[in-house]
Amino acid sequence: MSTTRDPHDTISRRSFLKLAGLGSLAIPAGSADASIWEAFFRKSFREMNRDEVGAMLERLERRYAEEHGYQLAVKVTGPLPGVKYGYGLDLSRCVGCRRCVYGCVQENNQSRDPQLHWITVLRFAKGEKWVNDLERADAYYHAEAVPEDGYFYMPVQCQHCEDSPCEKACPTKATWREPDGIVVIDYDWCIGCRFCMAACPYGARRFNWGEPGLPAAELNPDTHYLGNRPRPKGVVEKCSFCIQRVRENPGRYPACVEICPVGARKFGNLLDPASEIRYCIDNKRVFRLKEDLNTNPKFFYFFAT
C-alpha cells in the first residue's frame, strides 16, 4: 500500500475514534471535517438526486486521493435504452488458462493482497457426471500446462440472474438489478452481513475480509460507482459485466471477453437480433447453470463443436 501518511498515525487515531464510540468509521486522518458526516448521513444511491450524487462523487474522489493516493474518476453512467446484456461461454474452447481471471483483477481493481477473484475456473475430468455435482470439480488445479489431457474447464462468475436470490436476500437493498440486466452492489451501502453470499447459488459474491491491497501504481483509474472503483474492507463485491466498459457508447466488451486468447467468451445485447449473443442462443445448444433453481441467469454456456 503506497500511502503518503505515516500508518501509525492512522492506527492510533482510528483506535481513538473507536473508543470514542464511533465504531469502525474509517475516518481518514487529516480530513475529519463535515464531509465525513455528510457521508455518514447520506441517502442510498438510488434515492439521491443529481446534485447529491455529484457531491458524493466529489467526496469519494477526494477521499480516494487523500486516503490511498489514487487519482481516479468515478462515473455513474446509466443504462443504455433498449439494451439487455447477455453473456455466452463456449465450453469446448475454454483451455483453463485463467487469463480472464487476471484480466478481470486488473480491470476491476480487485485486491491483490489478499487476493480476490471474481471469476472461478473449475476443472472437470472428462466423462465425469457434472453440472449437478460440482463437488468433483477442482477450483485450484496446479497444472504445468493447460489444457490438460482428459479435462475440460468451466469458468463461473456472477450470472446476473433475472430472479436473483442475492437481491431478494439483501436486507438493505444494497444490491439490485439495473434495467439493462446488470446486478450491481452499492459498495457504500452494503453492511457486510453476507446474507447474499449464502443466497447466491453460483459462489459469485466475494467478501473483503481484510483491507484490500491495491497499489496505486496498479490502479485502473477509469471507474464506475457501481463497478470497478476500489472497494473498502468489509463489503461484498462481484462481477458487474464491466459496467464501466459496456455502458460506454459505443459499448466496449468486458475485459474477460477481450482478453480470452481462444475467443471462448461472447457478449452482447439480448434485445438485438443481430448480436453475437443472439447468434449463439439461436444456433448453439445453450444451457444455464442450476436451471432447477429458477434464477434465470443471463449467462449462457454452450458447446460450439
Binding site: 452494503c190 457486510g192 474492507k233
Partner: protein, 400 residues
Amino acid sequence: MRNFLAALRMVLQGNRFYYAWLGLLLALIALGIIAYLRQLEAGLIVTAMRDPVSWGFYISNFTFLVGVAAAAVLLVVPAYIYNFKPIKEIVLFGELLAVAAMVMCMLFVIVDMGHVDRLAHLLPVIGTMNFPSSLLAWDILALSGYLLINLFISFYALYKMAHSRDYSLSIIKPLIILSIPWAVSIHTVTAFLYNGLSSRPFWNASILAPRFLASAFCSGPAVMILIFQIVRRVSRIDIDNKALFKIAELIAYAMGINLFLFAAEFFKEFYSGSVHLAPMQYLYFGLHGHSPLVPWMWTAFLFNLCAFLIFLNPRSRQNFLTLNLACVLVIIGVYIEKGMGLVIPGFVPSTLGEIYDYSPSWVEKGVTVGIWALGALIYTLLLKFAMPVYTGALRFYAKD
C-alpha cells in the same frame, strides 16, 4: 431517584461468591472487547470465515440463542395447560432470560457485520430496509419486537410489585398471550432465514423449522430448570419440585420429536442418496477425507439420546443428580446441533463444490466468550433485582 439508588444498592450487594462471579464475568467481557477491537482494526480476516464458509461461529451462537429465548417464554404454554401455581415465576424468569438472550443475539449479529457503522441502513425509515423480501429484515423486526414485549412485561410487573401494587392482569395477560406466538415466530423466522435459500440444499428442507422448534423446546427449558434451582438456593423464592419435574417431562417429549425428525431427515438423505446428501455426509461421516465436525456431531447425538432416556424415565428425571446431568447434556447437544452443526453444512460443500474446513479463530472465540459473559451479567443483574422485588424484600416508595 431514591428508588433507583435503592435498586442499585441491592444489585451491587452480595456475598463473596457473588463478587467473584461478577469479577469473572467482567474479565471475560474485557477479553471480548479486546478481541473485538482487534477485529474492527483488521477486518473479519482475523476470523476463520472465508468466501466458501461466509458465516461461522457468531451466527451459530445467534441461532442457538434465538431458540433459548423463544423456549424460555414458550414455557408459559404448559404452565397454562397444567395450570400450576408457579406460573408467575416461570413467566417472569423466562421473560428476563429472553431479554438477556435477545441482547446476546443482536450482539452476535452485530459483531458479524463487515460494516457496523452502517447499522442504520438496516432500520426501517432511516435506512432502506428490504421488506418484505429479505428474511433478514423480517428477523430484525421479529427479534426487536420480541425484546420489547419481554422488556415491557417483565419491567411492568416488577415495577408494580416493587410498589406493592397488583399488576393489572388486563394489561399483562394479552401481552403474555401475544408473546407466545411471537416466540414461535422469532424461531420460525430465523429458521426461514436459512430455509428460504434454494441454493443450499441442507437448509432448503421443509423439516427445518419444525426441527428448530423441537430442539429449542429442549434446550430452553433445560436452561430454565438449572436456573430455577439456583434461584431457589440463593433466594427465599420457593419453586415446587413438581414444576421442575413437569418441565423435565416436557423436554422428554420435545426431545422425542426432535430425534424423530432427525431420523426422518437422515433416512431421506441416505436412502435416496442424491447429490444433496453431501452436507449430511460431511457432518456425520466426513466428505472426501474432510471430517472436522464428525466427532462433534456424534457427541451431540449421544448426548441428546442419553438425555432423552433420562428425561423419559420418571425415576431418573425426579432425581436431581441425573436431572441436572441430563439438562447439561441437552444444552450441549443442542448447542452443537443447532449451532455449528446447522450453519456449517449449509456452506460445505460450497455452491461450487469447494470443501473448506472451518473452525473458529481465537478472535472469534474471544468475542463469543465476551458476549456470553455479557449476557450472563445482564441476567445476573436482572435476577438480583427481580428476586428481592419478587419476595417483597425490596420495596419502592411511591412519590405521593
